[in-house]
């Protein structure tokens, strides 16, 4: 293709509106043509500028003018309008004049990525509504299947238990595509498996294709998006238990990774008599759905629930070994959100809102002590601020928490505070400013814990700053427009996407110790995000047409995989360093298991999947 042709296609290329062959031709041209690459970079940059242009709101006087205008009265009069506008008594003057209260520029949420004020593109709720309709249609069949499942679980339980305690092995059985089985019959064989959410159910897939993809969760439940795998036991690669919320009945369940022992936790999440579906879209519903938290040792599960229907959710802790459940005593009447376990699983910190105060509270599992760490996080100049991030310092000898405060896209401050000492000292302020993003990693700063924040330049994304828990900071980039950044699991690297527009940006990797910044690729998708391998040595990413892997030992040479297409989810294996799961949506739709070292792939399923894809182990 010649430059002139390519230039006509660049805009559609940026918006992923081209057919596969055209996309590939353009991508190939871009690799060698600086002029066209610069144009693409410009298009992306200008899209960012345009989408972050301050939005303008009309002044309130315009409403009055509109509804008291002669024309409006005439329109309304023809339909005998009644009292609704009669309070607007101001006479209309359609005369252009200087108005001191004329509209002014305000920063409203807006733009391509975030336009909550605009109704056309409301984020789609978790997709359960469409599913309900199906559930209604298939109710009889599902009841029948549920009965079969219950019978199977009952019988299977007798002979399955001894397998559960056995050590793990990884099966190697190359096979073709095995169509997903509708419903799990007996316990799944030992080994590593990955789990994903599809059509309101959790599905488990083997890493050899041998036993097929099977449905883990019962057919009479609809699984919410924020399901969680229990942390791996020492010496294991992945957890052997999952927790999920059934949207249909408003209850938390646990289920073993082999698909057995689906257990309902008998603490209603919502007030009895309330239809759960009516509450999931409310703030309380979102708080509950986001609350599932396994303790780090995997022995307990915390979640919040509002069984009284007060709108003030309480915190509950479920102990797996005993099946006991209890409500955590609170320092007053208020609502709990965002519980986070300490690394030693002895404490749980959570946000606690009462009487307009937004504080942080710590609960000690051993002595049942409850401690208000911060009564209120909001500063006088930012009264809308809430707790956005909350986590623990990795050091268990001196328990400490760290948190960020602000509103979405405007993080105003980050703090650190020791927990559990008498006569608590004031929290340490780590940084103040107006940051677009703040992400904490316990592994950052050589395992001492560190934040990375994205600065804001006149409302536009700026550079990355690393702020450690002793409040010292390092600027990692200069003159960039960083839209998103992620720590590697070991805290050694950060990848970031620069100048993102139309969901694509330039991928960079920074070594946080040396601050060496390497450009990896020009066109990398935001969804799915690039994904770090568990050891932080490899990063997989999608360009919309290709999937590439970059190894930290050869950072300048990203390897495109033979398998091509539009990726919707990427996930590195928890046990094998070169194994990657890729879900593709167009062309070769399906779920693939890829050996990135030998560049071979195995198709496991012919339907697509969206993230997250999490790993489990069956002992």
């Amino acid at each position: 293709m010649k430059c002139e042709q390519v230039k006509e296609f660049l805009s559609a290329y940026l918006d992923s509106q081209l057919a596969l062959e055209e996309r590939e031709a353009i991508a190939m041209h871009l690799q060698t043509c600086t002029e066209c690459s610069n144009m693409l970079v410009d298009f992306r940059y200008f899209d960012t500028l345009l989408s972050s242009l301050p939005r303008v709101a009309p002044d309130a006087s315009l409403r009055r003018k509109n509804f008291s205008s002669a024309e409006y009265k005439e329109i309304a009069g023809t339909f005998s309008i009644s009292a609704s506008t009669s309070d607007l008594t101001m006479p209309f003057k359609h005369v252009r004049s200087y108005d001191p209260t004329r509209p002014y520029l305000v920063a409203l949420p807006g733009g391509q990525q975030t336009s909550p004020a605009f109704p056309l593109r409301r984020p789609t709720p978790i997709g359960r509504y469409t599913f309900y309709r199906r559930v209604n249609g298939l109710r009889v069949m599902h009841l029948l299947l549920a009965a079969i499942l219950l019978l199977t679980i009952g019988m299977g339980g007798f002979f399955a238990e001894y397998l559960w305690q056995n050590h793990d092995t990884v099966a190697h059985n190359p096979a073709g595509i095995i169509p997903p089985e509708g419903l799990l019959q007996g316990p799944l064989p030992a080994g590593m498996r990955f789990v994903f959410l599809r059509d309101g159910a959790l599905w488990s897939a083997p890493i050899d294709g041998g036993s097929g993809i099977v449905r883990l969760t019962p057919t009479n439940s609809i699984v919410a998006a924020n399901w969680a795998v229990r942390p791996a036991f020492p010496g294991h690669k992945a957890g052997n238990m999952l927790a999920y919320i059934d949207l249909q009945h408003g209850l938390v369940h646990t289920i073993r990774s082999d698909g057995q022992s689906d257990t309902t936790i008998h603490q209603p999440l919502l007030k009895s008599g309330i239809q759960p579906t009516s509450l999931w879209d409310t703030d309380t519903g979102a708080t509950i759905l986001n609350s599932l938290a396994w303790s780090k040792d995997g022995s307990m599960l915390a979640f919040v629930a509002d069984p009284q229907g007060t709108g003030l959710p309480a915190l509950y802790i479920y102990t797996l070994s005993s099946g006991n459940i209890y409500a955590v005593p609170l320092p007053g009447k208020g609502g709990v959100s965002y519980p986070v376990w300490s690394p030693d699983s002895i404490r749980i910190a959570f946000a606690f809102e009462h009487d307009g105060w937004r504080g942080i509270v710590d609960y000690n599992i051993q002595n049942h002590g409850i401690l208000t760490i911060v009564p209120d996080v909001a500063a006088p100049e930012h009264t809308d601020d809430t707790i956005l991030g909350l986590d623990w310092s990795p050091d268990t000898t001196i328990p400490a928490i760290t948190w960020s405060v602000g509103t979405l896209g405007h993080i105003h401050s980050i703090w650190w505070q020791r927990v559990g000492i008498e006569g608590a000292i004031a929290p340490r302020n780590l940084t103040k400013g107006d940051y677009i993003q703040a992400i904490y990693s316990q592994a950052g700063h050589n395992g001492a814990g560190s934040w990375q924040v994205i600065t804001s330049q006149a409302g536009l994304p700026g550079d990355i700053k690393m702020v450690d828990l002793s409040a010292s900071y390092t600027l990692l980039t200069y003159g960039r427009q960083v839209n998103m950044a992620q720590w590697s699991p070991n805290g050694e690297y950060i990848y970031y996407l620069d100048a993102v527009s139309s969901e694509m940006g330039t991928l960079h990797i920074i070594n946080t110790a040396t601050r060496v910044d390497t450009i990896i690729d020009l066109n990398v998708t935001v969804d799915p995000m690039p994904v770090w391998s568990p050891d932080g040595q490899r990063l997989a990413y999608s360009t919309g047409t290709h999937i590439l892997v970059v190894n930290m030992q050869a950072i300048n040479a990203a390897q495109p995989l033979k398998i091509q297409g539009l990726a919707t989810a990427l996930s590195w294996s928890a046990s094998l360093p070169n194994q990657l799961v890729i879900a593709l949506s167009d062309g070769q739709q399906g779920i693939y298991l890829v050996d990135t070292q030998h560049d071979t792939s195995l198709q496991l399923d012919s339907s697509n999947a969206r993230g997250p894809i999490l790993w489990t182990q069956i002992p």
């Binding site: 230039k7 006509e8 296609f9 660049l10 805009s11 559609a12 940026l14 918006d15 509106q17 144009m39 410009d42 298009f43 200008f46 899209d47 500028l49 345009l50 989408s51 242009l53 301050p54 939005r55 303008v56 709101a57 009309p58 002044d59 315009l62 409403r63 003018k65 509109n66 509804f67 205008s69 024309e71 409006y72 329109i75 309304a76 339909f79 309008i81 009644s82 009292a83 609704s84 506008t85 252009r96 108005d99 004329r102 509209p103 520029l105 409203l108 807006g110 733009g111 391509q112 990525q113 336009s115 004020a117 605009f118 109704p119 056309l120 593109r121 006149a458 536009l460 527009s501």
Partner: protein, 178 residues
């Protein structure tokens, strides 16, 4: 009270106005680049809509339809204004200092440069670009709003981006593209 039924819900005129006044105003303002005119055009848009609504089908996509009225109302105004020399963005919060040879970015700031570049573009490209970047519309939503085919949207956005780039870079250099 008059109520209008759409697929989604039953609306009073006030509810329609309150729901859409800000996005429509923002869109119109960026199309015409003048706040007082945006006031008038927003009012005209809603009055036209209120007049026509009771006759509309219940399957109406209210938001896209409102944007379509707003676009046409703004185009009319822009056509009327065509003979008047365009003085870009003089009602900004600060008047640009008259400093010869100074860095245009310092005089205008990036936001003002973006607005100035926008106003230099042909208006149909401007509306497509604004709907895409500012309002977050998809290609098919833009097609529906501007009453063109989706292939037309592809062409509009391509031309719009090239035109915007040309004008922005020219303004940045301290002059205007012709």
């Amino acid at each position: 009270m008059i109520r209008v039924e759409t697929k989604e819900k039953s609306w009073s005129f006030e509810e329609i106005y309150d729901e859409y006044k800000t996005p429509i105003y923002n869109y119109v303002y960026h199309l015409v680049g003048d706040r007082e005119q945006a006031d008038d055009l927003t009012q005209d848009t809603f009055l036209k809509a209120f007049r026509a609504l009771p006759k509309m089908d219940a399957n109406l996509k209210l938001s896209a339809w409102l944007y379509r009225i707003a676009t046409n109302t703004a185009y009319d105004a822009l056509r009327r204004r065509k003979l008047i020399a365009w003085l870009p963005w003089q009602d900004l919060d600060h008047e640009p200092a008259d400093v010869e040879g100074a860095d245009p970015q310092e005089i205008y700031g990036t936001t003002e440069l973006v607005r100035a570049a926008l106003c230099c573009m042909p208006h149909q490209y401007r509306s497509a670009l604004l709907l895409y970047t500012q309002e977050g519309f998809s290609y098919s939503e833009i097609a529906h709003t501007l009453n063109i085919a989706e292939s037309g949207v592809k062409m509009y956005l391509s031309r719009a981006r090239q035109s915007f780039r040309e004008h922005y870079r020219a303004l940045e250099q301290g002059g205007g593209a012709k």
